[in-house]
Every structure is written in C-alpha cells, then in structure tokens.
C-alpha cells in the first residue's frame, strides 16, 4: 500500500519529465532540414528541431516550476520532524524563492509577460496530485515520499531545462539565466539524493 502510494506519487511528478521527453521525441521524428555547410554552426547553436516554447511561455514554466518546489518545501516544514528533511526543505524554499524573484525581475526587464501553456498547466496538475498524496502521509512515510519526490522532480526539471527550455529560449539573457541555474538544480538533486540515503 505504502509503496503503491509512493509509486503513484513518482508517476505524477514524472509527468513533467514524460511530457518533456514526449516533446523531444516528437521533434526528433521530424526530418532533418537540409542546410548549407556554412550555416551548420548557427543551426547547432539554435537547433531547428528543438521543441518550441516562446520566451513568455518559458518564463511561465520557470516561475511555476520553482513555485511548486517552494510549496512542497513549505508542506515539509509543516509536517516533518526529521532534521535532515527540514534542513533540505529550508534550502529549497530559500533558493527557489530567490530564483522566482530573479526570474520575475528578468522578465520585467525584458518586457515579457509570462504566458500560460500546456507544460505549465501539466506541472500544476501534477502538483495537485502530489499535494493530495502528501496530505495522507505522516512521519517517516511522509519524509520518504517528500524526498523521493524531490529527487524525481529535480531530475525531471533538469532534463526539461537542459533539453527543452535552453534550446527554445530566444533572448540571450534568458538563455544565459537558464544556463546559470543548472548548477543549482544539479546541486539540489545531489542534496536530495544524500537526504534520501540518510533517511532510508
């Protein structure tokens, strides 16, 4: 029963990753365009077959993805009594709130209005499923579900930022901001895996 609940939780959170991978898979089915040799370098920098989100949609995805992890962290801070989990959750809330602030400042500077899209909608739907499942868990069972979810969520987000959002971004400042956030996300994943090993 416990494993089943956690399994469902992971499936829901991985929806982000599955959607991301589906978009990549669909784009890979497209025939590669014939390009002149002299423009190959430019194509390599901005792949024509990259899944396309415009900058306004990317801005929305970034803010939603960060806010979701802030929300998960706040639930953990309310429910958990495990020092390792509490420390991890505090870092997630603090870091992702700062990223939201920076992202908001950047989109204001760029004059971009974040735009709702299928990926951000799917993220929010996935969040509702996870939060519902968190409600029914307490103690060590909750701690394990929260940390397992954080590992899966960060893996999915890292894949989406790297494979979809960075290649799609048109504005160079936005593209650089997405690139700059990668070490933080990878560090969070490492922290989540360390916490996962400690509470098993």
């Amino acid at each position: 029963m416990k494993n089943n609940r956690i399994g469902n939780s992971l499936k829901a959170v991985l929806a982000f990753g599955v959607i991301a991978m589906s978009v990549i898979a669909c784009s890979e089915k497209q025939d590669a365009p014939v390009v002149e040799e002299e423009v190959v370098e430019e194509v390599a920098e901005t792949p024509v077959d990259a899944p396309q989100f415009n900058d306004a949609q990317i801005a929305h995805i970034v803010v939603i993805a960060d806010q979701i992890d802030v929300d998960y962290g706040k639930v953990a801070l309310e429910k958990s009594k495990n020092e390792e989990v509490i420390h991890f959750a505090q870092s997630m809330v603090s870091d992702h709130e700062q990223i939201i602030k920076s992202a908001t400042e950047l989109v204001e500077k760029l004059g971009v209005t974040p735009e709702d899209n299928d990926l951000s909608k799917s993220l929010l739907e996935g969040q509702q499923t996870i939060l519902e499942q968190f409600k029914g868990l307490e103690g060590a069972e909750f701690d394990k579900a929260y940390i397992d979810n954080e590992v899966a969520y960060h893996e999915a987000v890292i894949g989406a930022v790297k494979e979809i959002l960075i290649p799609s971004a048109q504005n160079q400042e936005l593209k650089q901001a997405l690139t700059d956030v990668m070490p933080l996300l990878e560090h969070h994943l490492e922290m989540a895996k360390m916490a996962q090993a400690k509470i098993q």
Partner: protein, 123 residues
C-alpha cells in the same frame, strides 16, 4: 581602527576592480601606527559562483585578509566545518564578507552542505 582602515581600503579597491570573475590578489598597504613603517598584506579573493567556492583551496600568508564575493544566483554563507564555531551569516547575491584567518580553516556553506573550502596559512 586599523582593521576598519584595512576593510575600507579593501572595499574601495574592490569597487575599482572590473567584473573579472577570476580570483584576484591585491596588495594592500597598511600603515602601521604613527611611524613611517609600512607593512604589506594581501587581500585574497574567493569567488562564490556556480555553487562552488573558487578556488576551493587557497594558501595565504599570516595576516592576509580574505574576501568572499557572492557572484552566484542564490544566498550562501561561509561557516566553520564541521563544528560551526563561526559563520559569516548570510552573504546575499552581490555581497562580500571579509575575514583574517589566524589558523588553518576548513569551511562550508550550511545552506548547501556539499560546498566546501580550505584555507592554509604558510608557517
């Protein structure tokens, strides 16, 4: 008073520097008391970026001042590892923190515990 002078001088020098992300070594002349004796000490810079202290290991001379500059995208701190006997407190994005180590130091960021650094002082 001397410490304040050194700190102010260090910050003035930092404000004059370019945004070069490489660690920099700047010689600061510290006026010693009212005599004309002048002693030089070094201001060594550790840049925090990409979730790392750069350089992660540094050897300095006794009396040298270290400055950590947070050029990352989130807040960090510099804290004694592992006893947490001293800490910089939060170093916000774009801010700096100064320290004159009196012995070898191992430190980490409590917010991101896998971020670690070492300072060795030459004998």
């Amino acid at each position: 008073m001397k410490v304040w002078s050194l700190g102010l001088m260090a910050l003035w020098i930092l404000s004059c520097q370019s945004t070069d992300k490489e660690a920099v070594n700047t010689v600061v002349q510290e006026e010693m008391n009212s005599k004309s004796e002048v002693k030089t000490s070094t201001l060594d810079t550790i840049v925090i970026e990409g979730m790392q202290f750069k350089p992660a290991e540094m050897t300095i001379n006794p009396g040298d001042t270290l400055v950590w500059i947070n050029r990352d995208i989130v807040m960090h701190n510099v804290t004694d590892d592992p006893k947490e006997e001293w800490t910089s407190g939060d170093i916000a994005v774009g801010e700096t923190w100064l320290m004159v180590p009196t012995s070898d130091v191992e430190y980490f960021c409590t917010i991101h515990p896998t971020m670690k650094g070492k300072i060795k002082i030459t004998k």
